[in-house]
């Protein structure tokens, strides 16, 4: 048996039944990492010693019977913008290349309570800005399905590590599609929860009003279980919401009879790849055959989402990233004349091109004389988009569509044309603007051999609807592993 092929829940069960030891599972993951890291570069930091030590402790607790979470002892990888106490957290940026937090993110605290073993920190687009994981200061991550392609981003390291079975599941963060799009490109499952469901405390902010942490795994069942563990009402995060319930796993039933599913016709107009379109519509058909009521509708305002998103996210980012100044922690330039010179050199040397582009864009849209025309207008568009979704969710339980207009592009193709890269976020960013939950599930493979992702969108706090639909769909199509060529 190759342990690493198990889903997180399957491994959890085997650990509990003593078929597999915690340290054994960690060693299996580390072996995979050893085998693939050189080639695919999914991790920024691998905590071999820490993981093995923690594994022994967890094994003891399980043996004593004090730890009975379904994921106790299961190795996890954490995106490198989520703070881990004592473990380097870089946001894949030079400016934080030496930063070790003195605290854990709330989501990490929740995972650790459940007996998770952190195996390492995964690569990402610098400060989560990018859709390819190519903007990392630690080199790009490669797509497990084809090394010449990107894994998507910004949680590309997390998704590729899950697809490569270098870990059993991972945490990502999603500001405009950063969990769903790389999940789609890597053929794994990822959930972006309702805004306020998972605490943002300890998540290094990109766009504060849009950021959410979420699970990435190889099955819908895993994702629902992980989400149940990491979700919590946290007084340390003022935008955290006290939900009526934190149960997601009860939605893991293979039944969509009577579920109303809407397909926005606006999603299929132009720019979408024919093969992607076909795969999505086929998935819709499958759900219909299982008893769901599927119909097409006009969503509206689809074209405006990207512009509103880049204004709002960049504005917030320009302020959120101001704290990285070389004064308190992180990288500081070697030679400088005075304070302003230190600021300038530190930030010029510490940030990459894409980050600088968004800081400049954000600073511009917030500057006096432009605030009303850009930022305020973008906020209005955001409110209108939410209205459109509200209308749709009066009629439908779930909205179905693609995650991205294409499958993973080739390495190097995107950065030369940032506008084109931004336009690839058309189906994901509006979900963050509206604060909605959405899941990405594999639904096909194109003629290039790259996976296609299906996006199921729910109303606020209705994760259970999308989990149920995704679970029922997944039952019709078993998980496909990439064929890995080194």
């Amino acid at each position: 048996m190759d342990i690493t092929r198990l889903t997180a829940i399957e491994l959890g069960k085997k650990i509990k039944s003593k078929e597999v030891g915690v340290v054994e599972a960690i060693k299996a993951s580390l072996e995979k990492i050893e085998k693939y890291e050189q080639e695919f570069n999914c991790y920024v930091t691998i905590d071999k010693e820490g993981a093995l030590k923690r594994g022994e402790e967890i094994q003891k607790l399980i043996d004593e019977g004090t730890l009975d979470s379904p994921l106790a002892g299961v190795p996890v990888a954490i995106k490198d913008n989520i703070c881990t106490k004592g473990l380097r957290t870089t946001c894949s940026s030079k400016i934080l290349s030496n930063f070790k937090p003195t605290y854990n993110a709330e989501a990490v605290i929740n995972l650790e309570k459940a007996g998770a073993v952190i195996i390492g920190k995964t690569n990402m687009d610098e400060f989560a800005m990018g859709s390819t994981t190519e903007t990392s200061a630690f080199g790009e991550t490669k797509n497990p399905w084809n090394k010449e392609h990107v894994p998507g981003g910004s949680s590309g390291g997390s998704c590729a590590a899950v697809a490569l079975e270098e870990c059993f599941y991972a945490l990502g963060s999603d500001t405009g599609g950063s969990i769903r799009q790389p999940s789609s490109f890597c053929g794994v499952v990822g959930i972006k929860p309702t805004y306020g469901t998972v605490s943002r405390y300890g998540l290094i902010a990109y766009g504060s009003s849009l950021d959410q942490i979420g699970p990435i795994a190889r099955s819908v069942e895993d994702c629902a279980n992980i989400l149940e563990i990491i979700s919590s009402f946290d007084v340390k995060d003022s935008t955290s919401i006290k939900r009526e319930e934190y149960d997601f796993t009860s939605a893991l039933v293979d039944d969509v009879k009577g579920m109303k599913i809407g397909i926005p016709t606006d999603y299929f107009k132009e720019g979408i790849d024919e093969e992607v379109k076909k795969a999505i519509l086929k998935a819709a058909k499958t759900l219909e055959e299982k008893g769901a009521i599927v119909e097409e509708f006009e969503l509206g305002l689809v074209d405006y989402a990207i512009y509103a998103y880049y204004v709002i996210a960049s504005a917030e980012a320009s302020s959120n990233l101001a704290r990285f100044d070389g004064v308190k922690y992180g990288y500081r330039t070697k030679d400088y004349e005075n304070l302003n010179d230190m600021y300038k050199r530190t930030r010029s040397e510490g940030f990459g091109t894409e980050v600088k582009r968004r800081i400049m864009l954000g600073s511009f849209v917030l500057s006096s004389g432009y605030y009303d025309a850009y930022y305020l207008k973008a906020l209005k568009v955001k409110a209108l988009i939410k209205e459109e979704f509200n209308k749709a969710f009066k009629k439908y339980d779930v909205i179905l569509g693609p995650v991205a207009p294409t499958t993973a592009p080739k390495l190097g193709e995107s950065l030369s044309d940032p506008i084109k890269m931004y336009l690839g976020d058309i189906y994901t960013v509006s979900i963050n603007l509206a604060g909605l939950p959405a899941i990405s599930v594999p639904c096909g493979i194109d003629s290039k051999g790259l996976p296609i992702g299906l996006q199921l969108i729910g109303d606020c706090f209705k994760e259970k609807n999308i989990i149920r639909a995704a679970y029922a769909y997944e039952k019709t199509r078993p998980y496909i592993r990439p064929t890995i060529n080194i």
Partner: protein, 476 residues
Amino acid sequence: MSKQYETVIGLEIHVELATKTKIFCSCSTEFGGKPNTHTCPVCTGMPGSLPVLNKQVVEYAIAVGLATNCEITQYCKFDRKNYFYPDNPQNYQISQLYLPICRNGGIEIDTPSGKKTIGIREIHMEEDAGKLIHDEWEECSLVDFNRSGVPLIEIVSKPDMRSAEEVIAYVDKLRLIIQYLGASDCKLQEGSMRVDVNLSVRELGSKEFGTRTEMKNLNSYKAIARAIEAEKNRQIELLEEGKEVIQETRRWDDNKETSYSMRSKEDAHDYRYFPEPDLVPIVISDEWIENIRKRQPELREEKLKRYKEQFNIPDYDAKILTSSKKIADIFEATTAICNKPKKVSNWLMGETMRLMKEEGIEAEELSFSPENLAKLIELVEEGAINNSVAKEVFEIIFKEDIDPKKYVEEKGLKIVKDEGLLIKTIKEVIEENPKSVEDYRGGKKKAIGFLVGQTMKKMKGKADPSMINKILKELL
């Protein structure tokens, strides 16, 4: 000066609120800790940390707003003010621009020409910055984040003041209101109240405002008054010379009694304000406002009225007693124990004020307890000690807050009631001072004073002077 000028002044006053913890984290606000000991990831701007609003800050801001007749903004928000400076760990300050918590208020001040209302444009909540310490020896700067995140309110007046006197009257009134509310100790010297003066001049009768400057670093009423006078003269001089006043921020140097330019309008930051996404809007219900209104303590005007009515204290005295919340508190607590308001008032207005002046301390720093003052008053009333002894004892109470009963007992300062001893002593004094006795008998009635004094000296001050007087007259 050929033309007549009018000075137009508006104030921006920062007040540190008296909360136990900071505005966005649970660190202590205590002043004077070792550098960077009252800090956490939030108030040092660590990555991933998030602010959580301290509700007490909102309550204090509403209380001050209500006491200054402001409208309370029932849906209010925080905004980020972006600028780079090392004392500002996030490189943005969480403040309020678009929807400040209080708006459109004002308070009445007394001026030589009668009552006048000074408008308050707004009061907003914000966080304080850390402190930079420049180390000249090492040629570096050090940052102490203990003050970072201490809650502030900024009270912005309308440009309604016309003289230094009006400014002082307004600041003093505001200071008392805030002190009475318990929202801050408002110490100018220590910086828990910081007054920035916006000043312009214009020809008398003109409707247009002149170009204004903003004056910072004013640490006392005297400094405020001097700075206003100097800035007014500087601006008038410029205009008289046909020059222009430049819009700028200036720093007052009270030792040199002059100001210098800190930065001009051209250097002004574009703060790129936008709504703080890490905090949710604050919704203030009618009920919440009413609860705070009900809990508002008695403010100075009400106290003044009550002292006159309830305790029959003259207007002048009542004003002095209420001129500081601390003194009013001592007055009320002491009166509650001994029930002698007039005597308490006399001790506070006389000896207390004298010693405060002598020691150079503020009312807020008074440390003696009402219990001990009440005991002292009772000792005098019982005739156990005389007035001059009482004054000596009070000085020790003032400094060390001792129990006067114990002290008088231990030091043997009680009046000697033994009439036999007194008669014996007076007889000795008469024998030893034949000259004075002769003078008295010869009609120089004043000579008796000397004899009383001599007797008192022999009794080591522990006698009742009226008793000495009586016995002396009998014996002579």
